[in-house]
Symmetry: C2
Subunit: 893 residues, 2 copies
């Protein structure tokens, strides 16, 4: 019989931490913790295979499941000594989702399941705490009502507030057992009114409904959005964990909390966590009550000024600190844990690798290696290259004068300036229209994820460093200030105020996720200093990776930045980008609007010295590293003059009438410019353009060689070719110019002529093309466009629908489509190598900075990836990880 | 030592007719004729390999060539008894090009080579005919000057006219020996003035210069144009034939002529040819003198009323008639021959398969099979499918009243109406701007080819049925009237006149290539009746071909035409084409401009009955044959309202303001619509469109089944897919509608759901896609666009340059690019079949009617091709030929 259920508890477990795919992250780690003797309440995991089966079978369960659940419940009863549904000693359970990848806040949880009008009485008697029993029951109805029965949670909150009002209470904890009994009645009424049925009393019905709700939530919009943002396939499914309840809300010797084994912001090796006395776990995560710090140290650094667990529950704290150490050495990584203290006894409810800021990630990796917990390879493998992006986010200029508006918790590092919006939808709308926005909410929820993604920074007025806003912002790399409680947000009037200051929607503010400060207006930002940890990690990565990392750059500033970030040359210099400057575009326009070769040559003569200087600068900065220069590529009408003034400028320069310029401009209009007269087609029809560019390159190379005595290595790249003959023809133009310049200047430059592979036909005919081309650079932007028949500029109308429907797993312009575009890239590599064994192969599309695409490049053996300067460190790390993966190195010591 | 030279003559030959690739057509056939004992002047062929070597080696000759030429000349001297350069008995030779494929008028010829100031005296003495000798010399200087030395031929004609004027002569033949001697002096002066050097006197220099000129002319613009129009690769090269001269201009017992062994216009089995007494071959082809008919019969039918050869040279005619019969039986085909009679002896100078009108081609094929000279397969293999196009050209409506403007020779069948242009350039310009044009010239020359191609019909005032105009027009399938001598053309004033009538450039005329009539204005035309020969050939083709032939059609008229032409179903019904009608486009616009699903559904409800009726008509006409219906495909903005009136129309229909319509229309604007929101992307985002179309299909199918009781076989085709999931998603919409309609109407329709393969990714993922798609139809237009990254609409700016430079052999939108697009098509076919063994495979791009593309389809085993109605017969024949080729059947009996 198929095993659909894995039990754990009492120092044993059916599963272990390697079984994430089957048990989900939470289930696997509960099993693991149980196995290694940590105190875990007994329970069982319904596997992800049940979820898959469920969705494959019209939302039915496998027939054997019911019996396996019954038997697993019995197992729990044996360990705990209580019985599920028993009116004297009722066993209560929690039901939680647990997917393979951590999805914080995205899935639903039900606590205290098993309570009904009878068992609540039994619970009161058995615990000797009537208030606790009724509090547990009302929490259960509220959670079950919200999550399983889909009753608006506002309805329950309203009743709760109402009752506190009637009684004149401020805090939930002021409510007595009798109040709670009455509240339960009102809650049951809320459920009956909303659903038309009484609140279910049979614990078995409750259990199956809760399991169904967990599976159902796998396909809710929030979950789908989260999976899309984090590249999690829908097929993975979620597991369901059913576990005996332990109670942090039985009294003052009870507590519940969450912690990171190290500081997730800085990476410092200090225990970092929060707890609430007499509370259930949800109270901490929801950020409703302000929690206390675990340690004296933490209390000093992070506030608030409430006593720490180290002080108030020293024994429990010692035990927790021991568990912390066991877990880090066992998992070789910093852990994010959840625990409950029931009447002085510690219970572990969850452990997982903790999310952390990039600074923390680097520091932790370096420290773990120093402590011998990890080796270098393992440290590298555990890092998320995409996260390095945050390092490149700016911070506040320390010399800038600032006007403080308010303070909050420093929840996610980096600083951001932007206009204030008060809703996720507004964030998306303003961001789409080109604004940088700061999303301000009293607290965030999974419904806000799209807005958080669109925002440059996030500010909340409630919740701690582990609140939803903080966790998600760190994951996304957005600067975040949390729980700025002195700021009051008024959604209605679209403003927030603090002391006597008011900020309206649309006003600019600056937040600093490193200090928790909120400032008025736009404060100057500067680039983060890269830490020694960063340099160490990068040097490990460099010693391990096989592929080189180049950069896409054409300005001296970009080229310099890229060099600082470790670029090993330029993989793509887009020469057309050099012509958008005020003083150049007129000559460029004159060239493209010339009626004949003579006119073009006149304009090209004006462009030559500018172009030459561009290359001198780049060669200088790259100091002997290869510089790949792409010949003019874009549809010429990108340069066309639009307004009257621009038209007049060109007419002046070219000495013709405005009407004539307009006529010529119209001639350049194209229906599908992306597939039009661009790329090497320009140089094939107007070889003088290629001549000018080649001349600029060779003259610049000679000039730099003269000055520096250093080698200059230009790699001249022909764009948008689909045939060998195009390369041959332009190569002969280039070779001719090279000879002519060498003869004139008396200095020879070594150079290569190669091509972009960015059309399917070029990939197919790569064997032939390689007979002429010394290198291929995969232009995966265009190759994706043509392989999919998908214009990047126009895909917005339907790409989201494609991703939502699961037709596309992710945006193929961001992450390489391995099945289609990837096959062409691999085919072209193979065919290119077959005809020229020493052909250089690289990639210069946007994908060159995308970690999963970089893995692909490693797999097919490319020589280098090239990406934007700010992604160079990401590419260096990703390339190292790819090397490790391809060697199947074992990471842990 | 490599053999670069093949000799022939005296009943022997080194080569034979199978060696066209090496000897060219002319050389191979001269060798063959010599071998089978026909009277051929001795000579030798410099092979095409020399041409290739010449162009591969910077226009140098292979080192062994000089010695081989010397020895071959010696061979001719031995047979003839004269010596090259001998001042007493000089051997004269002709030097002619001879490519693998016949290229009439495209390459250059030099006659009488070997003459100089000394040898002309020897020739006069040896021939006893001083006038002949000097006439030959002046012809030689003129030809050599024109062709080899590139002196403008007008200069020579001017001197000739001048001298005739001085002497008061009308005809060249009036000039006496002394006149010609003086003319030679003037000609030599012309050469010296133009070239700066005296006319070359050394026959060896003359020979090598002439050979060089032939090779040089292989790369002249005319030759390149002709090769492009006729799909001849530049790599083939040309051979050079050097042959002892025989003279048709030695006196009244001499003649020269050209003939077809059957009538090339009608195919009638009657000897059809012309000759000139006392002339050289070029005189006939140039159409300068009006030639005489070979036969009494020909003279009666074709005029002019000059005595025939049958009457004036009966013995020679008998011999020629015998040769005619020998050649047809030997070559199994109608021949086009050139001959010269020197002092009563017949010499054969050329034989080749004769160009013929399509009617003639069909009749000859049928007759040769009836006579046992060919079998059916051989007859089919010899036909040019593209030529069938002409059958589909209209003829004059016999009931129409016509105003005759003039008469000429019926030179190429079919009638055409158009505006008059007097130059090839004007023809191209007016045709490009959308006019149908008739090109009128006094005579045409190879420089006019682009204009002849652009024209719908050609009219000349000089030259016979074998003149340049006639031969080229027949080859191109253009109606042509030749030698309409009563019409006078005045290029200066841009008009032509006849009797008292004048036609100006831009006026409309009608020509009838079947009768030779030229008529004023536009005369109503009707479609050619298809002959019994056509039906017979088509039935042979149908019995031989493996692939089915469908049609691309959406209107009932097109569908009916296609059925009459033998289409076996519809391979592509472009549903969007059904929505351009006045009464439909408003509803269509309303649909695409709707703001939400409700708005779209309202408009779709209006479109449903129209769409249903469309399908009823098509199912009716196709009577049980498969009908492939493509779901809505184009970028929606193709339907957008443009002017105010159109905007208002849509606003009215949708009940919104014009401003709102304009706003919505702007939203649909795309940068690259070809790669935008189109194809199945429309149905993925707006499934209601797919629903409506599916509903219309199934309701129409049910209606036709009810009426006819016949099966209806819709094949629903999903356009522009790049993934299996798109098909799966839309298939489920279609299946759902099918069930719903079947339940409602109580009638089930069998149908298939398949897809276009028109994106590279679809070809790559064809294996997966075939799991959902029951058929593939290769949309090679779009597949070519995306594989090349080449917009068909925008390629005009550079495609010609690509073809001229030889980067592209031909327009890839006309003839399938086997190397790139073809590999994808083959790959998709293989992968599709691997995952679904019974998958139906077809092609529905423009290439489906292109013979070379059809051969490719046969090679990779497609099930059908689909093409426009008028190309269906072409496709049937081409498919049969492809079947024959793939079976490597031997054709001749």
């Amino acid at each position: 019989m198929k095993k659909w259920i894995y039990s754990f508890g009492d120092g044993k477990a059916d599963g272990d931490s390697t079984m994430r795919h089957l048990l989900g992250g939470k289930g696997a780690n509960l099993a693991e913790m149980s196995s290694i003797g940590l105190p875990v309440p007994p329970g069982f995991t319904v596997t992800t295979e049940v979820c898959t089966w469920y969705y494959d079978h019209d939302q039915q369960y496998p027939p054997e499941l019911a019996e396996q659940v019954r038997s697993a419940i019995a197992g729990i009863e044996t360990i705990v000594g209580d019985r599920f549904g028993d009116r004297h000693r009722p066993l209560l359970v929690s039901v939680r989702s647990g997917a393979r990848a951590s999805m914080p806040g995205m899935m639903d949880t039900v606590l205290n399941l098993g309570l009904n009008d009878q068992t609540v009485v039994g619970l009161a008697a058995a615990s000797g705490n009537e208030r606790f029993a009724w509090d547990s029951y009302r929490r259960f109805i509220q959670m079950f009502g919200d999550v399983v029965l889909e009753v608006d949670h506002y309805e329950f909150e309203h009743e709760l507030e109402q009752m506190k009002g009637e009684r004149g209470f401020d805090l939930d904890t002021d409510l007595e057992a009798d109040d709670l009994r009455q509240l339960v009645d009102r809650y049951k009424q809320v459920v009956e009114t909303a659903t038309g049925s009484p609140f279910p009393q049979d614990p078995q019905d409750q259990l199956w409904a809760a399991i169904g709700a967990v599976f159902g939530s796998w396909m809710n919009t929030r979950a789908i959005t989260y999976r899309r943002l984090h590249d999690i396939p829908a097929e993975w499914g979620t597991a369901v964990n059913v576990q005996a309840m332990v109670f942090g809300n039985m009294g003052e010797d009870c507590a519940t909390g969450v912690a990171f084994t190290r500081d997730p912001s800085t990476g410092e090796n200090s225990f970092f966590g929060e707890f609430l006395v007499n509370a259930q776990g949800e109270d901490v995560v929801a950020g409703i009550r302000t929690p206390q710090n675990l340690t004296v140290n933490g209390r000093a650094n992070h506030g608030p000024d409430l006593p720490s667990m180290e002080e108030t529950m020293p024994t429990v704290f010692q035990e927790l600190n021991r568990v912390r150490d066991v877990l880090e050495r066992h998992y070789h990584d910093m852990q994010d844990i959840e625990f409950t203290v029931q009447r002085g006894k510690l219970w572990m409810l969850q452990t997982r690798n903790g999310k952390r800021s990039v600074q923390a990630a680097l520091r932790i990796a370096v420290d773990l290696v120093a402590d011998g917990i990890l080796d270098q390879a393992g440290a590298l493998a555990g890092l998320d290259p995409a996260q390095l992006d945050q390092l490149l986010h700016p911070t506040l200029d320390p010399s800038a004068e600032v006007t403080i508006f308010g303070h909050g918790l420093a929840a996610s590092p980096g600083a951001a300036t932007g206009v204030v919006v008060f809703s996720a939808d507004d964030a998306v709308a303003r961001a789409d229209s080109g604004d940088t926005v700061i999303l301000v909410r009293s607290e965030t929820s999974p419904e806000d994820i799209h807005g958080m993604h669109a925002a440059a920074g996030i500010l909340t007025t409630r919740g701690g460093a582990t609140s939803h806003a903080a966790v998600v912002a760190r994951g996304m790399g957005r600067p975040c200030v949390c729980g700025a409680g002195d700021i009051r947000v008024d959604y209605e009037s679209g403003e927030m105020s603090c002391a006597n200051m008011t900020v309206r929607a649309g006003d600019k503010i600056t937040i600093d996720g490193a200090s928790g400060r909120v400032m008025l207006g736009a404060v100057p930002l500067i680039q983060t200093e890269l830490s020694g940890d960063f340099a160490k990690i990068m040097s490990w990565a460099d010693s391990i990776r096989r592929m080189q990392v180049r950069t896409n750059a054409e300005t001296p500033a970009d080229a310099r930045t890229a060099r600082e970030f470790g670029a090993e040359g330029i993989g793509l210099c887009r020469t057309e980008h050099m012509f958008f400057d005020e003083d150049r575009i007129v000559a460029m326009r004159e060239m493209i609007l010339a009626d004949d070769e003579t006119g073009r040559r006149t304009a090209l003569d004006k462009l030559l010295p500018m172009q030459r200087q561009d290359f001198i600068d780049l060669f200088d900065i790259m100091a002997g590293l290869p510089v790949t220069i792409r010949l003019l590529d874009p549809p010429l009408h990108e340069f066309l003059p639009r307004g009257e003034e621009e038209l007049a400028g060109v007419a002046d320069a070219a000495g013709v009438t405005v009407a004539e310029v307009r006529r010529r401009a119209q001639r350049l209009d194209e229906s599908n410019p992306m597939l039009g007269h661009r790329g090497c087609r320009l140089a094939i029809t107007f070889p003088e353009i290629c001549e000018m560019q080649a001349r600029a390159i060779f003259e610049a190379a000679a000039a730099v060689q003269d000055k520096k005595g250093a080698a200059v290595m230009p790699e001249i790249m022909i764009p948008l070719a689909f045939s060998k003959d195009e390369i041959a023809r332009l190569k002969s133009v280039i070779d001719q110019v090279a000879k002519e310049v060498a003869a004139r200047i008396g200095r020879q430059t070594d150079y290569l002529v190669g091509t972009m592979i960015e059309l399917p036909r070029a990939a197919l005919l790569a064997g032939e093309i390689a007979e002429e081309a010394a290198f291929f650079s995969f232009g995966t932007n265009d190759l994706t466009q043509t392989t999919f028949g998908l214009s990047r500029d126009d895909a917005g109308n339907f790409l989201d629908a494609y991703i939502d429907h699961g037709i596309l797993a992710k945006d193929p312009f961001v992450s390489l489509d391995f099945d289609g575009v990837g096959e062409l890239v691999e085919m072209a590599s193979d065919r290119g190598r077959a005809s020229r064994s020493d052909i250089k192969l690289g990639i210069c599309g946007e994908h060159g900075g995308d970690p999963s695409s970089i893995r692909f490049c490693e797999k097919i053996g490319l020589d280098y990836v090239s990406c934007s300067p700010f992604r160079v460190p990401i590419a260096r790390l990703a390339a190292a990880q790819a090397s490790l993966q391809s060697k199947s190195t074992r990471h842990a010591v």
